[in-house]
Each structure stands twice: as C-alpha cells, then as structure tokens.
C-alpha cells in the first residue's frame, strides 16, 4: 500500500502548478553583499557545539558510572574484623580486600592509633603490621598471649582463614608464643559458624573417671577424652556422638553405656556423677548434667543419663577456635 500512496502523491503533485525556470531566470537580481536572515547559512559552530555537548554528556555519564563502580568496590565496606589483643580494634574491609576504616574500641586502641593510618592498606598487610606493632609496643606479652579475631560479613570464612595464616606465620617467624582465637560469621542471616580445630591442649592422664563407654580410638584408656571425636563437636546436637565421648567418665557403667548408642537410650546410665572434670568443656561449667542440656539440644535425656554429662569437652565444642602456638 505504500507504493500506492507514493504513486498517488507523485501523480497528484505533478499535476499541481509548477514554477517556470524561464520566469525565474527573467527576474532581475541584485547581488547581495552579505547574507540576510533569509539566506543565512546554518551555524556550523552551533551544530558542532551540540555534537560536542552530546559526546561530553556521554563521557560524563561514563565517568559517573566509573565513580559509582569505584565507590562500590573501594569505598564501601563489606566485611568487619574485630581484632582484639587488648587494645581492641574494629576493622572494616572493602570488596577489594583493603582496609576501609579502623575504629578503636578502647582507650589503649585509641592511643595506639594516634599518628597511624592504615586506610587503603591491603587487609592482610594491615593486620600483619598491626600485630607487629602489638608486639613492639609490648601489648603481646608472656602474660597476654591471646589474639582474638572475629570476622563477619561477606567472605568472612576466607578472610578469617587468610588472616589466621598470616598472623600464625608472622608469630612463628619471630618465635613468639601466642594463642589466636578466630571465628567468623558468614552472613547475618546464617547462624554463626565456628572454625574448628584441635583443642588447645590434651587433657592430663590423671583425669578423674568421667564414666561412659571407652573411646573406640583409645580402648585401653577409659579415662582419656575422645580427642578424635572433636570432629563431631561441630554438631553439639548430635547426641549420638556423646555415647562415644562418655566412655571416659564411668567405668563401672560402661557395660550399660555400651548398649546405649543414643543418648535417648541412655536411660540406664546411672554412672558417675563426677561431671566436674570436663575441663575441656569450656562451655560446660556445670557438668552435672542439667546445665549441659542447653548445649546439647538433643540431650533430652541428659538428666536421665548422668554419665552422658561426663562426656569430654569435645562434645561441647567451643565457639572459637583456639590455636596454641607453643
């Protein structure tokens, strides 16, 4: 139909009155000395200016986009580290793994930061420098050998792993004895996960009987804590592991406990009530059983199975990982 319209318009226009060339040529003209408002040519400079404005606007938009990307990458923190030696600091980390801000949490920290600036540093370098300064300033002493690291936010686990390795290497190189306690929270919505590791030190051999069945890895040492069960510590609610951990506490009831592979079945565990020897169970201040129920959510029968309360500390794993560098 476009062709029909085109043909119709062309035919119609050609039938309209047309100007005559000879008539135009016959009209006398006076040569103009300069352009008037009728013949003035379009201002090329204005057209060029408009194009320049268009391109400049595009460039400006790109610059704004780059600035936003820069701010997103380098000027907004996504992870937070609580670095505590006493003094204590809170460090915020950007997406590019640089230190965004370091905030003192106590007076010692505030005095330490006077004249110091770590802003923009690579976070690993910053923490290493901070640790060195703690040593040089005498904050890490024989009496105070604990470094606490709490990492939260995005990439918390990875950051925690790297920082621990860096501090560990630094202290080992200098032959410094210290304990590094680390933990991380990967996401605010996710329950805090604990970076587990071997316990700080094995329990002494002369531990009082704790009752419970002997440890499968150490069948001759009925009193020994089940260190190898630490891998089960991550699941405090997994009471099926408690049966393994309870072996050291009550020999006399082992025969009963061995029948109980599940805490819920340990109704006959009437063994030792000497629960106070769970020295590694840092969270079990009251090993008399009932107090531990809060740590073992499935230990519904703990009250019925006092021997289960004698389980070693591995069953009630600490929230923090403590690494002794002796």
């Amino acid at each position: 139909m476009e062709d029909k319209i085109k043909a119709s318009l062309c035919r119609a226009v050609s039938m309209l009155p047309q100007p005559d060339f000879d008539t135009i040529c016959a009209i006398p003209v006076i040569k103009m000395t300069e352009h008037d408002d009728i013949t003035m040519q379009a201002n090329n400079a204005l057209l060029v200016f408009r194009k320049v404005i268009t391109y400049a606007s595009a460039v400006a938009a790109m610059l704004v986009l780059c600035c936003c990307a820069y701010v997103f990458q380098y000027a907004s923190p996504i992870s937070f580290i609580e670095y505590s030696v006493n003094p204590s600091f809170e460090i915020s980390v950007t997406r590019a793994q640089t230190l965004f801000e370091i905030t003192p949490k106590n007076k010692d920290a505030a005095d330490f930061l006077v004249g110091r600036s770590y802003k923009g540093w690579n976070i690993e370098k910053a923490v290493e420098s901070l640790t060195l300064s703690m040593i040089e300033e005498g904050f890490l002493t024989a009496e105070n050998q604990l470094i606490k690291l709490r990492v939260s936010g995005k990439n918390a686990q990875t950051l925690e792993t790297f920082l621990y390795a860096d501090i560990d290497t630094l202290l080992r190189e200098r032959g410094i004895t210290a304990t590094i306690s680390t933990s991380f929270t990967q996401d605010p919505q996710v329950n805090e996960t604990v970076h587990t590791g071997p316990p700080a030190s094995p329990l002494p051999q002369n531990e009082p009987d704790r009752g419970g069945p002997p440890h499968p890895d150490d069948p001759d040492d009925t009193n020994a804590p089940s260190d190898t069960d630490d891998s089960d510590d991550t699941d405090d609610s997994d009471d099926s592991d408690d049966s393994d951990d309870s072996g050291s506490s009550d020999d006399s009831d082992d025969s009963d406990d061995s029948d109980d592979s599940d805490d819920t079945d340990n109704t006959d565990d009437s063994g030792s009530t000497d629960d106070s020897d769970d020295s590694d169970d840092t969270d079990n201040t009251d090993d008399s059983g009932s107090a531990d129920d809060s740590d073992d959510s499935d230990d519904s029968d703990d009250s019925d199975s006092p021997d289960d309360t004698d389980v070693p500390d591995a069953a009630d794993a600490p929230e923090d990982t403590t690494h002794d560098l002796d």
Partner: protein
C-alpha cells in the same frame, strides 16, 4: 493513451532518487552562469517544491515561494560557504520565506476547505490521487508531512533528509513510519479505498 504514458513516466521521473547536488555550482551561479543555475534547478526543484508544499499546503503559494527561493539563490550564491549540505541551504531559504509569508498574509485554515468544493486541488484530475494528497496534507503534522513528501515525492533518501534537515536519522525514520502508518489507517477508513485493503 499518450497523455497517460506521459503522466506515468513523469511520476516515475519524480519518484527517482534526487541526484546529488554539486557545491561547485554555487560560485558559477554567483558569476552569472545560467547553465549551472539550470542544472541546480533541475536537480533540486522537486525537493524544494515538496518541502514548501508540506509547509504551506497551498499549491499556488508554493509555486510563488519556490520561485522566490531560486531568485534568492541567484543573488546570494557567491556568498555560499561549502558545508557539504547544499540542499540544506536551499531548504533554509525556502523555510524562512514560508514563515515570512505566513506571518505577512492571513492564511486561511486548511480545515475550513470543503473537500468536495476544493478548488485549490481541482487541477488533480484523479479523485483517488486528490483524496490521498488532501488527506496527507490534512491529517499529518508539519514534520511528518516534510518527511513523507521529501521521501515519496522528491525521492530523497532518509539519510539525505536527515542531513538536509539537520535531524538524526533515527528520528527521520521513526517519523516517516509513524506518518505512513497514520496515513494508511486513515485512507483505509475511507470507503473509496476499500479495494486497496484487498489488493
């Protein structure tokens, strides 16, 4: 028969693509070269006529303005500065003359014309052609008329139209398609064009 053939060939000539205008003609015209002026006239008259008609919508006034445009070209050709768009300069002169004419004379609204008693386009013998022309001049706005007439009547490409009117090519294309769609829809609503729907 001969008359029919001449009309057909004339329309074919009109629909041919407008030849490229050489800017070197203007200094020659400024020196009084009639042949150069005739060459310029033959190459550009159809486009200038369609352009002015789309603004004024009156064939008699269009004829006068087109004549004035070329008279101005003869008097100012020696002042022309090459910018790569000679047709744009002709359109500029024609547009300024049109607006001056509109300001000076009281133009009667096109809508007041009764289509059946329209004497202005009575020279268009074919009823369908007259309807298409009058409807195109009535329902399209000035910008749409310019693009439609310059492309369909004078044969300018969309790129040439965008260069001559200093408008982006995308604007010209979208305006053309929109105008054509509007014109098609309006024409199909006319009972006389029912047969176009089936063809």
């Amino acid at each position: 028969m001969l008359l029919f053939l001449s009309v057909v060939t004339a329309t074919d000539q009109v629909a041919e693509q407008c030849p490229v205008i050489d800017e070197a003609l203007f200094p020659l015209i400024g020196n009084g070269d009639i042949k150069a002026f005739e060459l310029l006239y033959r190459q550009s008259e159809r486009a200038v006529y369609a352009f002015v008609l789309s603004i004024l919508r009156n064939p008699d006034a269009t004829c006068d303005i087109v004549q004035d445009t070329y008279v101005r070209v003869r008097s100012a050709a020696h002042l022309y500065k090459p910018q790569g768009k000679p047709l744009a300069w002709l359109f500029t002169i024609a547009r300024n003359l049109c607006y001056n004419s509109k300001r000076q004379t009281a133009m009667i609204s096109f809508d007041e014309y009764n289509l059946e008693n329209d004497r202005i386009f009575s020279c268009v013998s074919d009823y369908e052609d007259r309807i298409v022309l009058t409807e195109a001049l009535k329902i399209l706005n000035e910008l749409e008329r310019k693009v439609i007439f310059l492309h369909l009547v004078s044969g300018l490409t969309h790129k040439e139209i965008s260069l001559s009117m200093n408008q982006p090519l995308s604007t010209v294309l979208s305006r053309y398609n929109r105008a054509l769609r509007k014109l098609k829809k309006h024409l199909l609503e006319q009972e006389v064009f029912e047969e176009w729907r089936t063809k």
